[in-house]
């Protein structure tokens, strides 16, 4: 796709400077080509670009019929599904602003998001999402209409504020007859500087803030993804990450509009693994949590497998590792090794990749959280290059990226074309690019704190080597200074811990303390398996966490990690979080990471206990 941009003019893709214009062009050009597949009761239903365009048009015009004005905010609370995407484009093309709400958000969070963003129209996935907004609507004065995607169980719903997504499209159809010029008219009004989406970022200090992403921001990012990775109209993606997150939105909504690739939307969150096997995407982005889960799936299968199977795996991975070592140093792979790899691949590695549904991937990419280097190595050894990239919501996604032609393992890559990355005071990473957001919605002071003279202050500490590769150290506020005055980056230790199949997440504690300790969230499946295999009696999750054997197991994992660090950086004590957490709990982010601040507060007693004399 033709891309043209420079520092002073906005990005244009195929001659379009706004997303609505580009979307209209794609719908017209690609017409009958499949744009979206969505699985429903096990069947992959296809939607062409023409269907996509039509649904978006009807939804957008339906909103116009209900009185949508340019710059009105519409919020969408749903798991990833086609209606999300249709509604999103309908809103954007008619000049509205879309804001994604995580379906796991609690009613009080929904209330905050509606009020902070001034939402007029709210899209709710189903009965459950509807109930949350109905519970708080007395206190959300700006809210006018609620549109429901899935009406199951709501047939008798009679509420003047609510209508179904189908009814909205019917309104749009009527409106189009009387106002045939509005759709194109609104698309033509779009300007690069127009605000297009709000993406709320979880504030570790204070409430969430809505990052304001403009047309130009997003077009720049779409061009960046294309330049970094090359996505073609023959590519297949698996859509499973939440669309309320900037990465999900980028890869499943906007990259397909840029490239014409197909997005396959999973049936629901429980079917992801199965759906991935079926789709076998050709390009795949996921967050570290997902990569970790895939890795531990394989580890468990191996333990259940035969000795022969394990031996074959060991041999094949050894070959894979040696080949990957050569590739990673960008050396030529010796002929004998290449030959051995062909065998290893055919007998073992290919099967593992098929099991995981990554066999057809040209590349794997990871971001949004720190990842253990060993995990990246593992995917390389399997024969799939994994590239780490770095970015933030506040720069609309990517700032730096490892490329197939230019990468260094352990770094997050060089700055992407058009992005300037530098270090400011205290080695804080700062970014200047056409992707840097306009600011935070209705929060000028927070904007002024974060974006100073055009430079986005990321809050991440890092370093940049002589060749321009960026290395992340940690979040600035997370760096631990022990009582002894030693600076410690907890994420480095936590990543190593998370690499253990028994540990899902860990939070290292030790700021102004004599030594380091950590709180550990165990991987329930794997630890239960361990308990079963080793005759450890337990009943539920809590009792599992309190068994001696499990404590010893985790301590063993911690000691393995300790061995890799200097004495001051070793963990002296730990506690297990003995309750099974899910994303509705405050302690977890929607991507299932522990929130350091919440964990520190909520488990203050446990933490204090670790610093008491034994």
């Amino acid at each position: 796709m033709a891309v043209n941009d420079s520092q002073d003019s906005a990005t244009a893709i195929d001659g379009c400077e706004s997303l609505p214009a580009l979307f209209r062009k794609r719908v017209a050009d690609l017409g009958p080509k499949v744009a979206i597949r969505e699985k429903d009761f096990g069947i992959w239903n296809e939607y062409s670009w023409a269907d996509y365009g039509e649904h978006a048009r009807l939804a957008g015009l339906g909103l116009k019929a209900l009185g949508l004005e340019r710059r009105d905010v519409c919020s969408i609370a749903s798991e990833v599904n086609k209606e999300w995407v249709f509604a999103d484009l309908g809103v954007i093309c008619t000049g509205g602003i879309t804001n994604g709400v995580y379906p796991t958000d609690a009613p009080n969070q929904v209330e905050y998001l509606i009020n902070d963003s001034g939402t007029r129209f709210y899209f709710a996935e189903d009965e459950e999402q509807l109930d949350k907004v109905l519970e708080v609507r007395e206190r959300t004065p700006t809210l006018e209409k609620i549109i429901i995607f899935d009406m199951e169980g709501l047939r008798s719903l009679d509420d003047p504020m609510c209508l179904s997504f189908d009814a909205l499209q019917d309104l749009g159809r009527e409106y189009a007859e009387t106002h045939p010029e509005v759709w194109d008219g609104e698309i033509d009004k779009a300007r690069p500087g127009d605000l297009m989406i709000l993406t709320y970022t979880s504030g570790t200090t204070g409430p969430p803030k809505g990052a304001m992403i403009s047309q130009a921001n997003m077009l720049f990012m779409m061009a960046t993804v294309q330049r970094c990775y090359g996505v073609y109209d023959t590519d297949e993606q698996l859509g499973f990450l939440p669309l309320a997150h900037v990465a999900g939105r980028m890869f499943y909504t906007f990259t397909p509009i840029e490239s014409g690739c197909v997005v396959n939307l999973v049936e629901n969150l429980e079917t992801i693994n199965h759906d991935q096997q079926e789709v076998s995407p050709t390009v795949h982005f996921a967050v570290p949590r997902v990569w970790e889960k895939q890795f531990s799936t394989v580890q468990i299968k191996l333990k259940e497998g035969t000795a022969l199977g394990r031996a074959a795996y060991g041999l094949a991975m050894a070959v894979g590792e040696r080949r990957a070592a050569a590739l990673k140093e960008q050396r030529r792979v010796p002929l004998h090794l290449a030959a051995a790899f062909v065998v290893a691949e055919a007998l073992v590695l290919k099967n593992i990749r098929r099991l995981l549904g990554i066999d057809k991937c040209r590349w794997l990419s990871t971001a949004a959280a720190p990842i253990a280097p060993d995990l990246i190595d593992w995917y390389w050894a399997l024969g799939k290059p994994m590239y780490e990239l770095y970015g933030q919501t506040e720069c609309t996604g990517i700032a730096t990226a490892n490329l197939a032609t230019d990468f260094r393992i352990g770094s997050v890559g060089k700055s992407a074309e058009g992005v300037e990355v530098a270090l400011a005071e205290h080695d804080e990473i700062v970014i200047r690019s056409p992707g840097v957001i306009q600011g935070y919605w209705n929060k000028p002071e927070r904007t002024a704190d974060t974006i100073r003279q055009g430079w986005l202050h990321t809050g991440d500490v890092g370093r940049i080597d002589d060749d321009g590769f960026v290395y992340l150290i940690d979040r600035m506020k997370d760096i631990i200074i022990t009582a002894g005055g030693k600076n410690i980056t907890p994420s480095e230790i936590e990543n190593q811990l998370k690499f253990s199949p028994y540990i899902t997440d860990a939070v290292v504690v030790g700021d102004r303390r004599a030594y380091l300790t950590c709180l550990v969230m165990i991987d329930d499946e794997n630890v239960m398996k361990f308990a079963q295999d080793n005759d450890v009696p337990f009943t539920n999750y809590t009792s599992l966490c309190h068994t001696r054997e499990v404590e010893d197991l985790i301590w063993g994992e911690i000691e393995t990690v300790n061995a890799r660090f200097a004495r001051v950086e070793t963990i002296k004590r730990f506690r297990l979080i003995d309750q099974l957490l899910d994303p509705e709990d405050d302690e977890l982010t929607p991507t299932q990471k522990l929130k350091r601040k919440v964990v520190n507060e909520k488990y203050a007693d446990l933490i204090e206990d670790m610093y008491r004399a034994p």
């Binding site: 169980g153 308990a531 079963q532 005759d535």
Partner: protein
């Protein structure tokens, strides 16, 4: 010491692991209940205890003695009476013969007295002891199955869904008898039930199983008030803002 203790039991149906590491305890004189959906593995737990099925792994301890791997008749002789799901009375034998079958392993002189005791508890059975059991109603058959197990003079009775297919009145009656047997004859009960209300009202302690594992345990009193139990087992969910909520919370087992 618990009367019965299971440690890390794994039981298979062919290649399928039906019970995946179950550990539980039944204290002397308690009524302990196991709740769970179809296929959770409740019946398999009972069958593993009575040795109708063999555990691949783990141990079963009864009165401090390891009984893992014993033959079913040996387990029965130790005083574990199994009342199977679906009653399983001998249809062509009379009521009296069915009951005597329960005392098959006994040779003492008290059998006659115990027979009278059973007829005492279940007057409906005494009406015509010579009637073939196949002609009894479902409720009477359930009584017969319990009575048959009682003839073993069990120290522990395993009750598998005694309310299955019974009318609410009969269910209530059976529950009352189970309670009385527990109190008057000091028979410890391990009760598997789909009728969660009945089980929780009757029981002292409860376990919840899902997919072959225990996910929750507590006193029945506290289980009755746990959100997940109320919503998934007792149907007492909060009706929500619209007064007719259909969707369910994600289970979190707390």
């Amino acid at each position: 010491m618990a009367l019965l203790e299971l440690r890390n039991i794994e039981t298979y149906y062919g290649p399928i692991m039906a019970i995946r590491g179950v550990s539980l305890k039944v204290a002397q004189s308690d009524i302990v209940t196991i709740l769970g959906a179809n296929g959770a593995g409740k019946t398999t737990v009972l069958k593993t205890i009575s040795a109708a099925m063999e555990a691949q792994k783990g141990s079963v301890t009864f009165e401090g003695v390891d009984i893992t791997g014993l033959d079913p008749d040996r387990v029965a002789r130790l005083g574990i009476g199994h009342v199977p799901e679906g009653r399983e009375v001998f249809p062509f034998l009379s009521v009296d013969e069915n009951l005597r079958m329960g005392a098959y392993t006994r040779s003492d002189a008290d059998i006659g007295a115990d027979l009278d005791l059973v007829y005492d508890y279940f007057p409906a059975l005494a009406e015509d002891p010579s009637l073939a059991a196949g002609f009894l109603s479902g409720g009477q058959q359930q009584m017969l199955a319990i009575g048959r197990a009682l003839m073993l003079r069990p120290r522990l009775m395993l009750l598998d869904e005694p309310s299955l297919g019974l009318s609410p009145i009969l269910t209530h009656e059976i529950a009352g008898i189970v309670k009385r047997l527990n109190e008057e004859q000091s028979v410890t009960m391990l009760l598997v039930e789909q009728n969660a209300k009945m089980a929780l009202d009757l029981g002292d302690y409860g376990y919840v199983m899902e997919n072959g594992r225990i996910v929750m345990e507590d006193t029945c009193e506290r289980l009755k008030n746990a959100t997940d139990i109320r919503e998934f087992y007792l149907g007492l969910k909060d009706q929500g803002v619209r007064g007719k909520r259909r969707w369910k919370q994600r289970k979190r087992w707390r």
